[in-house]
């Protein structure tokens, strides 16, 4: 058995789920990846604002 077929068989449970229902869950996976990317971007933006506010607080208190 080649390694590729072995991996394929090992992942068959997931594959079966992903290919069922007209492959709808593939779309769900894609949307979730995009959504997690947006969350990351949102959190990073907030962190940047936190830093800016801290710097401004320091400067204003001078």
């Amino acid at each position: 058995m080649t390694q590729a077929t072995f991996i394929l068989q090992a992942a068959s449970g997931l594959d079966e789920a992903m290919l069922s229902n007209d492959k709808l869950f593939v779309v769900m996976a894609v949307v979730l990846i995009i959504w997690f990317g947006i969350i990351l971007f949102l959190y990073r933006g907030d962190r940047k604002l936190d830093q800016l506010e801290r710097r401004l607080d320091e400067q204003e208190s001078r």
């Binding site: 069922s20 229902n21 007209d22 709808l24 869950f25 779309v27 769900m28 949307v31 979730l32 959504w35 969350i39 949102l42 959190y43 933006g45 907030d46 604002l49 936190d50 800016l52 506010e53 401004l56 400067q59 204003e60």
Partner: protein, 248 residues
Amino acid sequence: MERLSMEIASPRVRVPKYRVIRLVVVIWMTVVILGAFSFGGWVLAIPRIEMLEHTARNLYFHVPMWFTMMAITLVSAYHSLRLLQTGQAIRDIRARTAALLAVVFGLLGLATGSTWAHYTWYEGTNIWWNFDPKQSMAAIQVLIYGAYFALRTALDDPEKRARIAAVYNLFAFVTVPFLLYVLPRQMESLHPGAEGNPAFSEITDPIMRIVFYPAIVGFIGLCWLLYTQRVRARVIEERIEALHQPIL
């Protein structure tokens, strides 16, 4: 009226509260997405309707764009009203940011609706824009909010701009229920709710409500996060400007 820039620092965004809501929205929307795609072997089986097929799920994404737009125009109008009452510069920042998000969600609503209709009701045709009453009125609504920004760029004095923009914004808000609700319902349309029908179509399976209503809440929450982030950034900008002004 006191000088606008003097009061900018007073009511700031409450960051700890924001962080809590951010976490709630992130988890909430993830569950909504999982719910939107679940059916068959899973919990929420939605009926397969000829022509619509899986695109019925667009109900969870397209329609909340409009609910979100209406919610954020309400926020925008509230802050415009408060600006006229108090003259606080933060009200102008909030009203403007909310109006910007109203335009964003309006455009998303138009784009998603157009895409949905093209591959279902207008499948096999070349129609992307069909002058459905709701579609046309929504486009006018987005233009009305677009004009708010055109008006702002035409005014140089910050105090005058804040006040005139607030008055215009209140007018813009008054048109929302007419353009998005009253008028489209008087005409023939492929949207449910046309010609006096209930807004939720009778062919829509009630099970879809389980995801639909949370999706509305989730998208409004997401919009609120983006809005708050923008407001914070604007306040920081104003504070930097104030730092660079010579102290009298």
